[in-house]
Symmetry: C2
Amino acid sequence: MDRSLPELTDAVVERIDAGRFDELGALFEKEHPGDIAEVLNYVDEEHKAKVFRHVPAAMAPDVLANVRDATLTSLLTGLSDKEISEAVNELPTDEAADIIGELDDEDASRVLNMLEEEDKESLRELLRYPEESAGGIMESEFVAVPEGVTVAEALQELREVAEKVERVHNVYAVDDHGKLVGILELWRLAISYDLQKVTPLIDREFISVPVDMDQEEVAALATRYELVEIPVVDAGGRLVGRITFDDLLDVIEEEATEDMARMAGTRQGDVHEESVWRITLLRIPWLFTGLVGGIGSAFLMSRFTLELESTLALAFFVPVITAMGGNVGIQCSAVVVRSLALGELEAYHMGRRIIREVLVALINGIVLGGILTAVALAWKGDLRLGRIIGISLFLCILWASATGTLVPMALRKLHFDPALASGPFITTMNDVVNLLIYFTVASVILSGG
Amino acid sequence: MDRSLPELTDAVVERIDAGRFDELGALFEKEHPGDIAEVLNYVDEEHKAKVFRHVPAAMAPDVLANVRDATLTSLLTGLSDKEISEAVNELPTDEAADIIGELDDEDASRVLNMLEEEDKESLRELLRYPEESAGGIMESEFVAVPEGVTVAEALQELREVAEKVERVHNVYAVDDHGKLVGILELWRLAISYDLQKVTPLIDREFISVPVDMDQEEVAALATRYELVEIPVVDAGGRLVGRITFDDLLDVIEEEATEDMARMAGTRQGDVHEESVWRITLLRIPWLFTGLVGGIGSAFLMSRFTLELESTLALAFFVPVITAMGGNVGIQCSAVVVRSLALGELEAYHMGRRIIREVLVALINGIVLGGILTAVALAWKGDLRLGRIIGISLFLCILWASATGTLVPMALRKLHFDPALASGPFITTMNDVVNLLIYFTVASVILSGG
């Protein structure tokens, strides 16, 4: 690579601004398709297709496979069916399927029909799997040999498919019915003698995943077992595809982005989105939820006008009650969400986590509730106010940590994304509940004590 | 593997409870070291070392390399120097260095002294690099050959080191001074004829990273260029190590966990921490920050007693103002933080992101401010209150999205972690600022209009 990515971007933008598109081809010649894809993500929507046409033909498929979905969509509208099918033809099936999946049904079937019979079949097959399942991220190309062959025969098979199958790290041993019986690591093959049978080289204690496993689970397996490539099998144990490390990297980043976006009350796409309208549409529903919750809080507080009029200082402590409830809730839920996402044992043994969180909340509640009581006393010299605030803060911390811990776990049990539990919906609900706790405590102490 | 991970855990816990530790060896025999490591993470601290002693000797090093830091620490205190050095001897240098790095200086140098001279040297070398740099995650084992050799000679080199170097996917071509000149992908070697020179197989447009590059940047490169293994070079371009895909997976997960934890006001370690006291110590500083901010809010509000007494309904809308400010702020900052973490171009071209966020905030501010004004009007029939609330909400949304966007960018410029910007510190500061905006607007409108 001649230039760093920011330099390349500047160079491209300069050419676009000057209308010198014809210089782009030479500029791209020595660059990496991954960088060109990043530049395409960055340039203005109206120029994307025009810039793409200057990508050297040999790189075009890889560039197309590496751009973001939003960029892909705008590129695809600018390309002809023939251009698309040529690129698709050069790509591994998983990347080809991602591209075809972005087309509308009519365009997709036109492009599919321009492909070779064999590719058409395996792509149709892949397109049937949900996008976020093992089947949705796998590619159908792999190197498989019967278990009785010699090393030379296995390598010959690899040689024959080498042009079509990228990033080979394993050769798979299958039986007569295509059932996966073991894995041959490539380095083992490479250092073994040609005439040797592969049988003793086969690892039979291998890990494979079913086509319908969720991609997050696949990624957790890959991390736990340090797998560079995972074979995917159908219900009968037949090898149908493989998931390579680059897909695993993508999945892990995607899932982390999605979880973080959910926590923040938006969606993964927001991180890459360019259109102000689409960003607004992603975010405003959650803000609207917050608004409704806030209006709820206002109505709730209005029911305690009597208390507020007698002790206006109650109002002063409203922000600290809601803020602390929010902070405790997000601490608990973020930790639980992340732990679940990493596929940790807490997913199965929740009792210990719950006990731990309750104990932490008790300590925090006593310490922070105590401090706030002291501050209120010192400031206002009002014992009742001190008691109201201390007790409420303690109860709010307990409530926030209970919901922060239990809601993600419950969501997971119900097969929803636990990350929803740390989003604005919960925060909003907690605001209302915490205010209810606060004013109820206030009302009891003010009237009774 | 005979059992799923939860089943294995249950089986182990059952044996521990019944005191039948001697049955653990047979239980572990057919399991994966990654699973045994997870179980060790899970069992009670006092039993960890005892359980570990029943791990079959051949697996022990891999198990040790895969447990979490907290588990490692408690295991290491239970093991003798000899046991530790035996495990370290069997591991790749990066994992060995991680283990030695957990020991205190005295223990570390005792264990180091029990190792072979060669290992001792490369481990000392590795331990010098910061933990989160390329040097800190690389291993010193790799397969390197001069560029003039034949395929057979390269494979012979691989064969000789195969026992010591795990997960080989690339062979590196170096010149007489050890300078990296290109990469030989293993599959290319495997399918080429023995007597051929490797020269034409060498990829010279390779990507390498300097020893001092931050691990997050390394992971972003790996994802962008789909690299299964990254060579690490020193200032003179000499090959000093390589980073393998399993390290990359770990880094990506670790960084995502750290960012999410920072957003939530805690630290990465919290996700795996078992001790209630340590969890409390991780979380309470941030809660304390929130408490101080909340007390600040209370004092601030007390300065506006006059306004509150004349229009108590002002208090009712305090929660909606702080909640909406918080929600907008976290949306912006999470998106910017994630975009920076993924190494996207926004890190260099910030202007566009800023404009976009301002526009989104304007739309959201107008829409939501309008709705809230209408609600206040309909409910209280007070035009001044409606104006106060609508204008304040609009200004608070603008402020929250400005800080949510600019603060992470500024932190990055100053070489701090941008994720700090979405944490409780900013939320707390925004609460105070938003209340100041709200009551200032109220005071102006109430006195003037």
